[in-house]
Subunit: 361 residues, 2 copies
């Protein structure tokens, strides 16, 4: 296990739990889930997301390689912009869903979910004889998320950051701390990610963000398991399994079936599309008074005694005042259908399927 | 994170710590490190090592694929035998060191260390157009290790297991529990690994082993961080970094430079061998009275004020009554040389380099 550059700072600020992710520890709570949710939804939160490791692809064939790695056509991707891209294996199965950051025509970074894209990219590059260097650079994201995030980042780095558009990024110095400042983040509450480019300055950066955020009530948090379910944000490896393709989990808009034939999985994706998918990700609104404490991942979803899918995530939504969930559900079921969820001890609850995201507005 | 089939049983038996490994939790202690070490070295211990995930390669081209994956020549590997094989990337860097089990001419399993060989094997197989199915089967190893391990397994499964030779394995039923029984394990104390072939029977298997082992004083344990340093057993990812080749860490005997030219990394390995390696793994005998509590991984090893390498593991050896360590050290240093190790707070201790394994006999 490697240590986050923000580790000491998060311990000082009262982190109470971690989850392993990309061979590092990701903070998963600071002891007051409700306050952490409130900060994200109504204020501003700062997250150690250094576990979003970076895979850098640099060299003559870097652009060829990234296009081979994703079925999203990249010809319109410009420098200083990041795109959300599905990465599939040769079967068309989703094996990661990173942000692809274009630094220049011959240098890209993948900001990855929890599977080994360093290993995967190196295998593909070497097998295809591409001239590209693939490394994990010293880059660690710190996210600032929530409706007041922009004000905090402006206080920290100047008003110019307000000009940074969604998914664009910009290299900046914060005193002696080198950063890439991106308008992005794994929530629907808006905000920025500061890509720290010098791991020795993690503690310093954390303190500066905390200081700048004080007038706005900033506090520590982490990728929020409630807000992300409400917002229908995909958690790769949580909401997906070893058979999940991008069409099943709402990523169809990021798959270009006319991408070049040498793109990994493109032929499989065309076939899947032609045949039609068997499952789709839907929301579940669970018929239960009060806060349901726990639903097992992979709890069966049933219709008339037949299994039609599985729950992949569950949360009690404060904004909906309802228990909600995400499921991978048979295409025979549609939003509006009534289903039954089998709880860990065999008890059953009714639920209604719904389109995503949930209507929390 | 996935759950081990032995999880409930290990919790019942008092597991106090875990470490993430291959997206699962590996027990790392039951509260009495000294007793756990003693059992392994003088008695018998049972370990939940289900984190040694299995990657199954099956089909017409399975044999071609496994030979491409490792620079160890496999033409003499027979069914029902497992071999320790280095797996390298195209640079000749060690990316895993599994046991390769040959089930039949067209079916193999890799029992892997902590990196994603499912992803790697699939990339290589698909890029080369091999006809092979690559899956993670429902197989979970339970290790029985120590000088009394053979007696326990004989009591459990019959005297015939005494005929199983080192690294050989045999399919057997224990009542209704399907097993592959192998004479192997990540210690130098002798023993067996029971490959459980039905994850729903983990609790039952654990109890049966415990029962059979009772007369021999069996108790729970885990891959032992002290015994493995004494024995010089390689911990991939612990003792290796993103530049380590097999020659540096004592695996030269498992690299055949006359392996076929299409083996991944073979040309790089030939070049490395021709040019000579720059580092080698050596033991460190540390000059310190009493038990040294902690040495950081990557603590510098110095000679005359110059850094010559890093410590990769440290343990207090009860059998040697000495603090010992493993290091990746410059080839300019040899066994017998005196070095200085820099401790976390900057204090320095003297040490002597030594060949591996340590002389604990």
């Amino acid at each position: 296990m490697r240590r986050s550059p923000f580790f000491e700072a998060t311990v000082e600020d009262g982190v109470v739990s971690f989850s392993p992710y990309n061979h590092m520890l990701m903070p998963t709570g600071y002891g007051d889930p409700q306050a952490e949710y409130e900060r994200l939804v109504n204020g501003v939160a700062m997250w150690d997301v250094s576990v979003e490791r970076q895979v850098e692809l640099k060299g003559l064939d870097a652009a060829r390689l990234v296009q081979v790695l994703t079925p999203r056509k990249l010809d319109k991707l410009k420098p200083n912009v990041g795109w959300y891209v599905p990465i599939c294996d040769h079967r068309g199965t989703l094996i990661n869903d990173p942000i692809l950051l274009k630094l220049s025509d011959d240098c890209f970074r993948l900001s990855i979910a929890d599977s080994d894209m360093l290993l995967w990219s190196r295998a593909i590059a070497a097998e295809r004889g591409f001239n590209v260097q693939i490394t994990e650079p010293d880059v660690s994201p710190l996210a600032i998320q929530g409706p007041k995030a922009e004000d905090v980042v402006a206080a920290l780095l100047g008003e110019e950051i307000r000009q940074i558009r969604h998914f664009h990024f910009k290299s900046m110095m914060l005193d002696d701390i080198p950063l890439m400042v991106a308008r992005s983040g794994w929530s629907k509450q808006g905000g920025f990610e500061l890509y720290l480019m010098d791991g020795s300055k993690g503690y310093e950066l954390w303190q500066k963000v905390k200081q700048a955020g004080k007038p706005f009530g900033i506090g520590p948090g982490n990728p929020n398991p409630v807000e992300r379910v409400e917002s229908g944000l995909l958690s790769w490896g949580g909401d997906t399994d070893d058979e999940t393709n991008p069409f099943e989990v709402g990523l169809e808009r990021h798959v270009d079936l006319d991408a070049p034939d040498d793109v990994i999985g493109i032929q499989a994706l065309r076939n899947i599309k032609a045949e039609g998918i068997k499952r789709h990700q839907l929301g579940l609104i669970i018929d239960y008074d009060g806060k349901l404490s726990y639903i097992d991942r992979n709890s069966p979803v049933m219709v008339n005694g037949n299994k039609v899918g599985e729950v992949t995530a569950h949360a009690y939504s404060p904004r909906l005042d309802q228990n909600i969930g995400l499921g991978l559900i048979s295409k025979t079921c549609q939003p509006g259908d009534k289903v039954t969820v089998v709880l860990p001890e065999g008890a059953k609850v009714s639920a209604e399927l719904t389109a995503l995201p949930f209507n929390v507005a």
